[in-house]
Amino acid sequence: MSRKQMIGVARPMSDAAPKSRGEARFAADIQLPNLAVAKLLPSPHAHAEILSIDVSAAETMRGVFAVITGNDIPAVEGYDPYDHAHGFLARRFAVFVGQPVAAIAAKDAETAEQALAAIRVEYRVLDAILDSTLAMAPESPVVSRDLAGEAREETITNNAGDAEMANGDLEEGFASADVVLEETYEIPVLHQGYLEPHAVTAWWQRDNAVDVWECVQSPFGARDHIVQTLGIPGHKITLHTTDIGGAFGGKDQGLFSPIAVLLARKAERPVRLALTRAEELTMANPAPGTRIQLKVGAAADGTITAVEGKVCVDVGAFRTYWGPASFSVCHMLVDKYRVPAFRLHAQDVFTNHVGFGSYRAPMAVQAAFAIESMIDELAGRLDMDPIVLRERNLIAEGDVTSGGTSMPKHGGVSVLQSLLDHDAWSASESPRKQDGLCYGRGFALGLWGSGRFPAAAIARLEKGGYVRFTIGQVDLTGSYTSLAQIAAEELGISADRIVFSRADTSRAPFASVSGGSSTIYSMGGAVHEASKELREKIIERAALELGVERSDVRMDGAGVVVAAHPEKRVELAALYEAETSLFYSKYEPFVARGAKGGGVARMSAPCFSGTIAEVAVDPATGKVKVLRLVTAQDVGKAINPMLVEGQIEGAAAQSVGAALWESVEYDEAGTVLNADLLDYRMPTAGDLPEIEAILIEEDGGDGPFGAKGVGEPPMIAPAAAVANAIRDAIGERINHLPLTPERVWLAQVKEGK
């Protein structure tokens, strides 16, 4: 098989047919004998001291198997009251509305609900801290902590981490600017919106060991979450991943597995905890609300001279696990462009909101809304084409990045050029009809660094001449298909002959999170290496079998042939039999391994993604209709173009949701006001236009066959592009997402005056 027969081929996902038949098995579909149902008792208060909990009535109800409270959590080494992981069940303090204060395992949901109603909790209500600005004032109350050991209460503050990064001469930068703009941008709490709610099942079977089935992106991270919170040794936990009904960063290592594990031990039977949608929106880990103050200076020719910014992220009651979140934003404000001088202050603040988490391109949507709105405004002031202005300032190969490393080769210029030439942009005016609507178009640019995480894969020849890979990585939306194409390309066999075993943590070699746009980049590398090693072994033994030199043979479909005499061949199926025959085996079994280390710099394979959005605004109602979306993305090499397009289209939809509708709303007491999918308004098929995805393939990706991470980059720009299109349509800038009809209507009324 010649080079690149499987790479760059659009193939349906290998599990598409079973999924279309409803055969995917998600976390809530796992069936076990005597399975009990778990339910949670949420705190009604954003901030309260729990004085007492009386569970006696609940415990003795018929059909109730176990009740737990914070008192059932074992003391563990390394307990950290600021760590999100330890907030799964309230101890002395409840620190957000919805934080579980007790949990019940019962024979069914109705019984569990009745038992919950029988639990009596006595609270001392404390002042809730719900505003990140007020939280940092010296006289502000602080989020209470159940401290361990010698720690003293007066050491508690609401500062969840702050940092400053600076470069160049800021005063000089602003002094030399012809235009200086200053704005404050607000981005609300966003939920990842995966359709499958979190679900986890735990079962203690024997020998003090527990099996856990959970929909998580990181199987080993989910295992470690249980080790960390409950002190159970890692080798006593087997974490089985399931099919995942969407994750987008929200299902990294799971949230409430410790509750299921504790209940299952006490109930002496398997216990499943599946969150309701209301619980998802209240007590899971949405993306944090963010405020970005930005000051940008530029010369008359559009060259950026200085950027100053203050970023404040309300991280909720616990630290984000990748934090400080605001620090990520600071990088993302200055990493796309050459910025000779900048000073950025990052501040994460604790409040009595739920502990926040990551959402597809964490914090990049927020950063892009600010900087890409600002650049758009600059273009207007300077009467420049917004894409040309970005081209002028684009960071080039070899420039120093905000992280201090050298910028690798990238396809940013091609992304910009392809969109500049696109008819969605190059038409002198977007089509305007005489229908009373205001039309506009906007552009925004996103950048994602692509990181690499450690990953390992085991490959072996399988009966019938198949090749089986055993990996711990989970397949969110087609990664196994692309991994099979990588393996097939290297092995020189059909991708249909590659099968994957998604193994649990006691059977798989290490795999990292299926996130960070890293799966193909990291696990793809490991699968590629394992394929090379297996191929070598197959070739070597096939040559022996055929009685020729190894240089004389090549892989051919389901077998190996002598290149000069293709009629002389040995099938992979026969090689498998030859290796496994008990008394007559000729070789040791074919096993190969591939492993890749992580720890590569943040900007190891930078991926630019730009979006043009066209909108129509109804001035009578402020309602926005998105008419067109075009995204061009530097993908390195698309292993499977259809799946890459799917990533771009899906991300565009989510980003438009953030632009126009999505926001988790809280009342003054910290209670979520829109804890359902009618009011947490995600885009429907009727809300969206066709989405055009343009794949830019350029060298520079150092993933397998030149691939780069593709999942997160397309999320970054569309929200800002829609905001810029609305600015173009109504002549007024709105700095507060989402751009609801009310905000748009008010803004254009202001403009009309």
Binding site: A10, P12, M13, D15, A16, A17, K19, S20, R21, G22, E23, A24, R25, F26, A28, D29, E110, Q192, G193, Y194, L195, E196, P197, D243, I244, G245, G246, F248, A274, T276, R277, L476, T477, G478, M642, L643, E645, G646, E649, G650, A651, A652, A653, Q654, D676, L677, L678, M682, P683, T684, A685, G686, D687, L688, E690, I691
Partner: protein, 158 residues
């Protein structure tokens, strides 16, 4: 809780179940009949992941009590095609890349079948309107619409 003996017509077979009066069709399908292709994404009729066909109409099975389903023809994703065969709508979804995580897919496929049975050659606007009750967070709907158009082009006979 008192249970009521029900005879349900599910995927062309009569099924006898004992259901509590408050149990939804979704709960009975999943918990009593083991038909777990219908998914619970919200339980409040907002997401469409539990969509089944009731007398050829797409309905959220989480909003229908099981007792109300008696005497009506219920089709779940498991009943759409037999064995390894794919229904034309399923095949188009697979070929067009119209599914990713697969959680919304059973409901989305069944809503498409309901649409094509009442309108075999729908416009793009009609498709988007008909599927607006089925949320998908992965695809952006683009390839779903293309898949439906492909079935329509083949005649739309489902």
């Amino acid at each position: 809780m008192n249970r009521i003996e029900l005879k349900l017509d599910v995927n062309g077979r009569e099924r006898q179940v004992a259901a509590a009066p408050h149990q939804t069709l979704l709960e009975v399908l999943r918990d009593e009949l083991g038909l777990i292709g219908a998914k619970k994404g919200c339980g409040t009729g907002d997401c469409g992941a539990c969509t089944v066909l009731v007398d050829d109409q797409a309905m959220c099975s989480c909003l229908l009590l099981a007792v109300e389903a008696e005497g009506r023809q219920i089709t779940t994703i498991e009943g759409l095609a037999s064995g390894d065969d794919l229904h034309p709508v399923q095949r188009a979804f697979v070929e067009c890349g119209a599914l990713q995580c697969g959680f919304c897919t059973p409901g989305m496929v069944l809503s498409t079948v309901a649409l094509l049975r009442r309108s075999p050659n729908p416009s793009q606007a009609e498709i988007r309107d008909a599927l607006a009750g089925n949320l998908c967070r992965c695809t952006g709907y683009d390839k779903i619409v293309k898949a439906v158009l492909q079935v329509a082009k083949e005649g739309g006979h489902v």
